[in-house]
Amino acid sequence: MIMRILLAAIAATVSFSAHAQATPVVAGRDLNWVAIGMFLLIVAVTLLITYRSAGRTKSKADFYTAGHEITPLQNGLAIAGDFLSAAAFLGISALIYATGFDGLIYALGFLTGWPIVLFMMSERLRNLGSYTFADAASFRLDRTSVRLVAATGSLVVVLFYLIAQMIGAGKVIQLLFGVNYLFAVAGVGLLMIVYVAVGGMQATTWVQITKALLLLIGGTLMALVVLWRFDFSLGHLFAEASRVHPKGAAILSPGGLFAEPVSAISLGLALVFGTAGLPHILMRFFTVSDSAGARKSVFYATTCVAYFCLVIPLFGFAAMVVLMPDASFFNVGAGGQFNKITDLIGGPNMAAVHLAGALGGPILLGFISAVAFATILAVVAGLTLAGASAVSHDIYGQVIAKGNAPEAREVMVAKIAAVATGIVAVGLAIIFENQNVAFMAGLALSVAASCNFPVLAMAIFWRGTTTRGAVAGGLVGLFSSLLFVVLSKTVWVAVFHFAGPLFPYDNPALFSMPLAFLVIWLGSLSDRTARATAERRAFDAQFVQSEIGIGLSEGNNALAGVAR
């Protein structure tokens, strides 16, 4: 039983859709006009942003990076807006609502990736590339094959992450606004296609900034209401929570989720290093003018994410106290019994939304629902842009056209790719509506940690890396994480209904990530070709540029110079 709840909660966190029942319109039970008004306002504002950005999206640099003209503070907010998904906001508060302390560890994992991104990635990436992280990965390696591996890794991550987000978005919007799932998914898809295809990075950035500000305001407002309810005493909050929760005082100490060290470390690795390999996050470092800007934006982003790690647990614990004793928040069985976690109307993911309604009435409920909606939009827009860029810049521009594509045509390809990515995502979200998709977001993080991160890190930091090693290691990381996830419980048992998993752990990162590093190392070490020698020799020039960014001042031609 406990295991079932835990699984449900994990599923909730990663895809936040597994247990959302189709009971439309939460808590208010009637149409919430504040929510609908806010929802329309957000749509109107973001479309206005897109309209104003449209005229400024002509060149490649405009489309992919908003002309490298975003300030560090703006970019920091946009990164937070890109990263803090509805899975983070609703899912982690649901996980804490269900398990207490364990949910907090999950939040810490999400946060711990950020210092690693700062120390190892952000500045070097900005110095070595112009548009996508594949630029930096293939700086001194073969631009066709390494780029193809990096672009494939990007597309796999983007697609799985996007489908998970879209399905979750459809269910949440269905619950919040009482819209049919099909319309909800198609509506979100249409909006994200319009933002990206019309407004490019400029519009995406401002949608993400708007969302980050809304989330900051909404989160702070709710945190204040919660603290006020408990006389600003965490002791009161914890004491009352452990009195009403079915697990009692056990919610205050680590429970089953991280008890088994191998699974815990594997999940931790995926959370920490997956962040450093997410293409839509890495792409944001090219929107600022230089490496100092990239570095500062990570600091602002980290501060925002840390702030959410502080306030989200408040929502989870307060929701226990406020919701659990009140049967009106639950689907009550014939005998009057209900499960205090799984029977919450709309599923545990709705804990924060119910809490907003219970503490702040329909106004706060409407506001938080609208914030959740904005949260979804900003993340799917960022993902769509990253997917479109992998297709148009990496695959079309550099691999197919060898860097000789006319700029206007590459931008056109990018826009078409954005439309295609959006349509594919909507289609798959509709096909997978009633499937168990809990594995998808976890898989995206594992691939990011096992393919994108090792290739990028080894290309940047190890002189010995050659094309053969990077390609082999990247592919091994990609396919081993896919294979392990398919053989694990979340797919082999939950989707294919086999009796037992062939791979005993939910998350493959502990195995697939070291495997990728090992193959890159061995594949490079044994590479005695003339090309390998030239690539190792080119490390010096790459090292100099990654450290002091020579070439950036000359009009961002660093990459173009390499590509020619």
Binding site: I116, F238, P254, V272, A306, D540, Q542, I548
Partner: protein
Amino acid sequence: MSLLLSSEQTQKILSNPSFRELTAARARLRWGLSIVTLLMFFGFIGLISAASSALGKSMAGGAVPLGMAIALGMIALVVALTGYYVRRSNTYFDGLTQLVRRECGR
């Protein structure tokens, strides 16, 4: 493949004392802080599997359980570490970078 810098330019910069100082100091800071970050997080996970019940107990005189207090400390530490890196870069590394660029005529 043609890189922007010629190999003479590259070698000139690589042997520049300011460049060596910059890269050595930054590498120490980068790997040092990364190790601290990873030890902190995975140490915490290790602590959980080793002594989970102790983490649920409140500290003497406080209402917040020990594990929660550690988690809050880690959140603060993450912000402090990134803040320190950015500050050090702004005040020290950026100056050295400018110096290298001037000395190497770029």
